[in-house]
Structure formats: structure tokens, C-alpha cells
């Protein structure tokens, strides 16, 4: 059964890494629904959230192939529901004096906010799950959407747990780290040059 899978991929922040990840999806014929990339709290490490619609077996293949990329540090799958998934959208919508009140009413109901106002239009900013944003878009459409930008989903697991340093592999495990070396050593840090 094909369902949306959300992968969080931690990668080294090096030139061409995004190309490598995207090329993998293209090369193996997997379709990306959304992709967003940004920094993490750790310098030298970027975080990608990739949503793809796929069967379970294909999702496992994607995960295994992501790990084959030398610059990929860790892959987490956040599909089972105990994660927060958020999009951000900016929607420029027509709102002349006659209909402005109606638009603002809608914005209020959706707990969105207005970030720019000109005579005939507004820019509405909304964060939330995909469904919520889709809902707002549907309601605003009759007023006339001039332009829209969406970030794509970013995701984070709920709870106090940090992401695992020892990644989980299907059919395999990472040999234990020797006692004299902390697992954190393996991740790039500010002190270490990229090479």
C-alpha cells in the first residue's frame, strides 16, 4: 500500500550534498512530494525533511540507498504518527475594501496572520499541517489568490529523546563504538575542518 513516508535526513553540510540526495531519488525512480533543507543546532550538519509516497518495501530501499551516500549521517523515518509535521505558507490574496473584512475573518478562524497589507491585497502567513494549509487555500481561492509559496514539510519526533547517534539499519547493526571514543566524535563539529 502506497502511503506518505516522511524521512528526516541528517547530512554533512558540503557542496553538492543536496544534488546527491535528489539524484538518488531521480535515479531510482522515486517521487519526492516535498523536500526542505536547513541548518541544525550543530554546525556542519544540515537536516532535510523528505516526504515521498511509496510502498513500505520502496521506503526501506530509499533508506538503505540514502545510507550509501558518504555524506549522509543518519536517516530517521517519522511516519508512525508520533511526530510534529509543519508547513509554512505565504498566500497573497485579493482583498479590496469591500471584501477585506471577510478575508480577515477567514484568517482569524485559521489562526493565520497578515504580514503585509496594500490597498487591494494581503499576504497571509500560516503554519500548520498540510491539511490545515490546504483548507485555508480552498477558502481563500474564491477571493482570488495572486501568488502562493509553501516551504514543504519539516518534521520532528515528539518527546524529550535526542535523535539516535547509532542509526538503526534493517538487517544490520553498527559495531559498537570503542569505550575510549564518544560516539559524538564522529559527527563534524566546529573545531574540525571539513576535511
Amino acid at each position: 500500500m502506497s502511503i506518505p513516508h516522511t524521512f528526516v535526513v541528517y547530512v554533512e553540510d558540503k557542496p553538492g550534498v543536496l544534488n546527491r540526495v535528489v539524484s538518488l531519488f531521480r535515479r531510482r525512480g522515486f517521487n519526492i512530494e516535498s523536500l526542505s533543507v536547513g541548518h541544525t543546532d550543530r554546525s556542519g550538519v544540515s537536516r532535510m525533511t523528505i516526504v515521498m509516497e511509496a510502498e513500505e518495501s520502496a521506503a526501506r530501499l530509499v533508506e538503505a540507498n540514502l545510507y550509501k551516500l558518504v555524506n549522509v549521517l543518519r536517516v530517521e523515518e517519522l511516519t508512525d504518527g508520533d511526530a510534529v509535521l509543519r508547513d509554512l505558507a505565504l498566500i497573497k490574496v485579493r482583498a479590496d475594501t469591500e471584501r477585506r473584512a471577510q478575508v480577515l475573518q477567514v484568517v482569524k478562524v485559521f489562526r493565520a496572520r497578515v504580514v503585509d497589507v496594500v490597498t487591494d491585497a494581503l499576504i497571509v502567513e500560516i503554519t500548520g499541517g498540510e491539511d490545515k494549509i490546504d483548507g485555508l487555500v480552498d477558502v481563500l481561492r474564491p477571493f482570488g489568490i495572486i501568488e502562493m509559496a509553501r516551504t514543504g514539510t519539516i518534521a520532528m519526533k515528539r518527546g524529550a529523546e535526542a535523535p539516535s547517534i547509532q542509526p538503526h539499519f534493517v538487517h544490520a547493526r553498527v559495531p559498537e563504538v570503542p569505550a575510549n571514543r564518544a560516539p559524538e566524535d564522529d559527527l563534524p563539529s566546529e573545531e574540525r575542518s571539513p576535511h
Binding site: 530501499l61 545510507y67 534493517v170 544490520a172 559527527l187
Partner: protein, 545 residues
């Protein structure tokens, strides 16, 4: 190191003569350099190195790098790049080489700073040969080559945070594998390239002697298990013998050792070995459950894995299963082309079988791609590891001669034979000059039928016999050899083979033998692409005149 100089790599070439421990071989086309590095790697197990300039030099490497990638061969590929300030400006001989090579390398680097060259090369060598071996590209900007820096050799082990070539299987997978092996009544081992790459031939033999499980090999697995061993079934797949494929289809357990269930091996995946439980031992986790879902996946080095499994598996007799497989052979022997009476025709199968006999099965054979390649697998029986080098995954015509040069450089004491078709040989025939320049002794057997033989065969079977663009007008290969100042010999009848092989082996340099074989001969048996593995087109029973 195999390479070809040019503008953007000239600084590196300028420094080369200072390093007398680096042997450089000047090729005639960069594709040859990549195949040579690949052949060197396959013959020796060590990383082969090729070097070329930017732009056309680098793009000419592509076919060779893709070949090495598909067959998991450790190759380091060094290319010159235009100066860093010119990158992105469409400068003379500029190509986005890291972009072009991205899908056909395990990893790639663009180096623009002098002080990054040494560490990058060290990382690249480590990545190429660890885990599942594969080519790695290092593209070095010309100004980085020209710069200078303080240099101190760092001999600490390479540590890359995101690279895990050291994955190990979960302990419970070993237990489940041993249980399945001990319970199986009709097991078959599928031995792949991993047997050779992990050096598992001896432990595989021990495993087979103990468990008495018969061994079928993939094309690249050939020579990993002795062909003369009573439990060697031979090659599986599209041109595998009928009893091998039938045994796989009837098996109740398949042990896939270092292979990847390629489509040429499985035929139709929906009907492949449906009765069998499957255990897959593989160093690359992404191969497990890729083409064929398996019951047990064991990630890790094959040799180490077999050493772990060996004490747990039980000694078995299995003579009933062996007897059944013998029955499957049925009338195969009667159909075998070897049993055709000598009618004055020269059959390629006879040529290859005679080469096997006269070289006592000990030669290191490098084949090209096509009919001769399949006949080689059927009629040259390899008993020793790494004695067959062939382009499997990519099926690259033109591979044989340059790969043989690389293999000969790696193993100078081996008797190296190229077996190539007339089509494939001509694709890289210019490398004969390289043989002469390097004073190499290679035996080049051209199985010359005046056709692109396998194309012609497909046209005969599947395209109504319309031989579109498959007949080939060839040069006189004996004269071609003569032009290179090496011996050229010709064989037109079977009774000339022995004497010609003897003369060829006596030559001090490379020798070309033009075997004028039967023009419209067919490789049997054959599983049409995507068909069920048991639906083979078999050899017709020969009509005795």
C-alpha cells in the same frame, strides 16, 4: 596508473617523472584507461588508478567507470579540471565532471585547494576499496595542482562520519540462517562476485564439503568455486545450462552469497524460485530485498559470514538431491555442441573448449561481451579464483583488450588470453599499440563471425530474422597485427587450433589470432529476457548426417 595527458592535468603529469615508484601506462583512448584500471583491480583485488584531463578526457572515461561501478570494481579516477576561477564559465575543455560521474561513482570530489589534494586522495582510496568496492572520482582544478603547500603524511585511519562499511548482521539472522540450512532438503548456493571480492573461495569450499550443497554461479561469480568440483553446477541465468536453472526453480532453499539477483539471473521475478526460502548474504544493505524478497538478510563480508555460519551447519549427505539434479541433465550432453562431429566447420564452442584444454584451464581469461562471452562461460572451466574477468552488469563491448592489459600489469606472471568478438575487439583495438609500447605478452583470440553475433541471434529469435545493422565488414586482423609489429595468426579449421595456440604461446610479444568461425551460430540454452527461468530455448538435438 593508466592515463592520458592533456591541458588541465599537465601539472600532475609534469611532476610524475619525479615519482619513479609510480608506473604510468599511456593508453590510446581514455576509455581504455578506465578499463585497464578496472582489469587491474579485478585481477589483483587492489585499487586500479586511471587519470585523464578535463572535458573530453574525462567524458571518455565514463563508459569504463560505469562498467566498474556495475561490477563493483575498486577504481580511483583522477581528472584534471579547469582552474577554479574558470569553473562554471564554460571554459575551454570544461565539463561538470563530478556532475556527469555522480550516478556512476560511489563518491566523488572536486578539489580546488592544494592542501586538500592529499587527504582527498587518501579518503577516495579508502572509499573505493572498503565495503562494497566501486569507483571513486577525484576531480582536481588545475590551479590546485600548480599550488604548493606544507605537506605532512597523515597515517591515521580515515574516519568519515557518514560512511559505514563496517556494518554487521544482527545475531538472530545468523541463527535463522543456520536453522533454514539444516532443515533444507533441496538447497542451492548462488555464488556471486562477492565470493571473489571477499576472498571467500576457500571457506565456500569448506562450507560446500560440509553441507554438500550444490553451487550455481553468476557470470561474475565464475572461478570463485572450482568448475571441476562435483558439486559445481555451472552458470545460472539467461545462458545458464538448463539443469542449473531447473534446480534453482525446484529448490526449497537458496543461499545467495555475494550476488544481487540481477535480471539476467532471475528472468521473471514473479515466477522465480517460488518454492524456495531465501538467505541473502551481502555487504551492501540496499541490495537485500531489492529485486527478490528474501527470508533472511545477512549484511556483512561474505568470508567472515561463512566463517561464522560454518560451525553451526550440519554435515549432510544430500545424495538424493544430487541424483535428481543429475537426472535434470537428461539429454543435455547429446545436445552439446561439443558432440557435433567435425564437419569442417569451425564452431566457437570448439575453439574455446580447445583453448581451455591447451592452456590446461590455467589461463587468466578476459572476455568481451556477446556470444563468445557466453561460450566462454560454458566451455572454459575455471578452477582458480580471479581467472575470468568479464563485463557483467554493464555488458560493455570493447572491454576485453584494455582490461586484459590492466590484468597483465597486475599479474605479469599469468598467461593472459583475451577472448573477444570481431565487433567488440574493434571498439578498443587501438590499445594493441599500448601492448606493444609496454612490451606486454597478451594472447588475443578474436572469435570472428562477421556479425554482431548476439544481436544477430536476437534478431533471428525475436525480430523475424531481419539482420538490421548486424553484419560487419572487418579489416584483415592478421595484417592489423602486422601493422603493430606483432604476430597475427589465422585459424579456419578445427585441426589448426592446437598448432596455432602452440605458436602463439611461443611468441615473445602480444599475438592476435583470427578465428574464422561459423557465421550464424547460436548460444544455447537461452531464457528470453524477462521470461520464466524454466522457460528455456534449448539446443536442438543435432541431426546426424
Amino acid at each position: 596508473m593508466f592515463g592520458y595527458p592533456g591541458g588541465a592535468i599537465l601539472p600532475a603529469y609534469d611532476a610524475l617523472p619525479e615519482y619513479t615508484s609510480v608506473k604510468h601506462v599511456l593508453v590510446r583512448h581514455e576509455q581504455g584507461a578506465a578499463h585497464m584500471a578496472d582489469g587491474y583491480a579485478r585481477a589483483s583485488g587492489r585499487v586500479g588508478v586511471c587519470m585523464a584531463t578535463s572535458g573530453p578526457g574525462a567524458t571518455n572515461l565514463v563508459t569504463g567507470i560505469a562498467t566498474a561501478m556495475m561490477d563493483s570494481s575498486p577504481v580511483l579516477c583522477i581528472t584534471g579540471q579547469v582552474p577554479s576561477h574558470a569553473i562554471g564559465t564554460d571554459a575551454f575543455q570544461e565539463t561538470d565532471v563530478t556532475g556527469v560521474m555522480l550516478p556512476i561513482t560511489k563518491h566523488s570530489y572536486l578539489v580546488t585547494k592544494t592542501d586538500e589534494i592529499a587527504t582527498t586522495l587518501k579518503e577516495a582510496l579508502y572509499i573505493a576499496q572498503s565495503g562494497r568496492p566501486a569507483p571513486v572520482l577525484v576531480d582536481i582544478a588545475k590551479d590546485a595542482q600548480q599550488g604548493s603547500c606544507e605537506y605532512q603524511w597523515d597515517d591515521s585511519p580515515v574516519r568519515l562520519p557518514g560512511y559505514r562499511p563496517d556494518l554487521r548482521a544482527l545475531p538472530e539472522e545468523f541463527e535463522r540462517a543456520v536453522e533454514l540450512i539444516n532443515a533444507a532438503k533441496k538447497p542451492v548456493i548462488l555464488a556471486g562476485h562477492g565470493v571473489l571480492m571477499s576472498g571467500a573461495s576457500q571457506v565456500l569450499l569448506d562450507f560446500v564439503e560440509k553441507t554438500r550443497i550444490p553451487v550455481a554461479m553468476t557470470l561474475l561469480g565464475l572461478s570463485g568455486f572450482p568448475a571441476s568440483h562435483p558439486l559445481s553446477l555451472g552458470m545460472m541465468g539467461m545462458h545458464g545450462e538448463s539443469w542449473v536453472n531447473t534446480a534453482i526453480q525446484e529448490a526449497d532453499l537458496l543461499l545467495a552469497f555475494g550476488m544481487r539477483f540481477d535480471d539476467r539471473v532471475i528472468g521473471n521475478p514473479k515466477t522465480y524460485a517460488l518454492k524456495a526460502k531465501k538467505i541473502h548474504v551481502e555487504i551492501d544493505p540496499s541490495e537485500i530485498n531489492k529485486n527478490i524478497p528474501v527470508d533472511v538478510g545477512i549484511v556483512g563480508d561474505l568470508r567472515e559470514t561463512l566463517q561464522v555460519l560454518l560451525p553451526g551447519v550440519e554435515r549432510r549427505d544430500r545424495s538424493e538431491w544430487h541424483a535428481h539434479i543429475s537426472e535434470l541433465k537428461g539429454d543435455s550432453a547429446v545436445r552439446d555442441i561439443l558432440h557435433l562431429p567435425d564437419s569442417g566447420h569451425l564452431y566457437a564452442a570448439h575453439v574455446i573448449n580447445d583453448l581451455w584444454r591447451y592452456t590446461e584451464g590455467k589461463a587468466l581469461v578476459v572476455t568481451d561481451v556477446g556470444q563468445h562471452q557466453m561460450w566462454e562461460t560454458q566451455y572454459y572451466k575455471h578452477d582458480y579464483p580471479r581467472k575470468l574477468i568479464t563485463s557483467g552488469g554493464l555488458g560493455t563491448m570493447g572491454f576485453a583488450l584494455p582490461a586484459a592489459i590492466g590484468a597483465k600489469m597486475a599479474m605479469p606472471d599469468e598467461e593472459v588470453w583475451v577472448i573477444a568478438g570481431d565487433g567488440g575487439f574493434q571498439m578498443t583495438a587501438a590499445e594493441l599499440s599500448t601492448c606493444v609500447q609496454e612490451n606486454l605478452k597478451i594472447h588475443v583470440a578474436i572469435i570472428n563471425n562477421g556479425y554482431l553475433g548476439l544481436v544477430r541471434q536476437w534478431q533471428e529469435f525475436f525480430y523475424g530474422g531481419r539482420y538490421s545493422a548486424s553484419p560487419m565488414q572487418n579489416p584483415d586482423f592478421v595484417k592489423l597485427a602486422d601493422a603493430h609489429g606483432i604476430a597475427g595468426l589465422r585459424v579456419e579449421r578445427r585441426d589448426q587450433i592446437e598448432e596455432t595456440v602452440r605458436r602463439a604461446r611461443e611468441q615473445s610479444g602480444t599475438v592476435v589470432i583470427d578465428f574464422r568461425v561459423e557465421k550464424e551460430d547460436t548460444v544455447y540454452p537461452m531464457v528470453p529476457a524477462g521470461a520464466d527461468l524454466h522457460a528455456m530455448i534449448r539446443r536442438p538435438v543435432p541431426v546426424k548426417k
